[in-house]
Symmetry: C2
Subunit: 183 residues, 2 copies
Amino acid sequence: MRVLGIDPGLTRCGVGVVDGSVGRPLSMVDVGVIRTSSDLPVAERLVTIEKGLDAWLDEHRPDAVAVERVFARSDSSTIMGTAQASGIALVVAARRGLPIAMHTPSEVKAAVSGNGRADKAQVGAMVVRILRLTELPKPADAADALALAITHVWRGSASNRLEAAVAQQQALAKAQKQKMRTR
Amino acid sequence: MRVLGIDPGLTRCGVGVVDGSVGRPLSMVDVGVIRTSSDLPVAERLVTIEKGLDAWLDEHRPDAVAVERVFARSDSSTIMGTAQASGIALVVAARRGLPIAMHTPSEVKAAVSGNGRADKAQVGAMVVRILRLTELPKPADAADALALAITHVWRGSASNRLEAAVAQQQALAKAQKQKMRTR
């Protein structure tokens, strides 16, 4: 399974591609940042992000896209730009019919480090270890995108396995009921 | 000048097209709302808004687009969806190279009713009067989109006229300087 993780932002939009599945080592395919200048109008910056994300999808053909879920926080002046960038990320992926998941920052921290309140350094160290990198990609947005992709491989697969198990149980129960009726 | 006003929203995205110029009566060309169901994933809803806005631009070929400027307010649970929808509106217009302006709600109120703190009813009554309608289009998002378009015709033209006057003054001053030098 190949996942493109997107950490949306207007100035720096982190992107990271991870290959892997649960129980096997994950590997980093590519990582980077789409940058836009704050001198440009917001609309142009969003178009740059759209084109950049399209290029990443064209190049890496992921099976799924994981986008950080953005929350309204009154203490952040950049939240509107982040929300707008996340909207672009969702549209770019949805236009291609790709499965999209949104993970909150604490979900990502919990998945990668085992602690939903882990700090940046802890999460970064785990990203390096999980992907067997020699150093943490910079800037932080790039590393965060990798953490999102890792989270999605693990959580996505976990919930898929759970769903599969539930479906199997239900199928078994149904089969038993039918067996009892036909007796 | 033809302006498409967009009042961004995830559930209801208001759209209104106004023809006109300063000093002449404005006219409504079309008004409506792009709706998306809250049962659908956000990404699909944003794609629906994108397609809807593209269709409005294809049909009406405006000279400019006016989008309501969204602010982060901690008291609103819908602000993230609104910001994402506004991002889509900006990208759809910017991809076509259309001039884009963003107006705040109080700028719109001030332009349309003369009072930046006017209530919905006052603004609505002025939209009806300015566009010589028989009744106010519903829902409120549709009426707000018209108010945005009106604001843009008036403010855009006003600032254009101001710029033109300033440019004329500067050209005159330059010409006089040159005249003095050549004496």
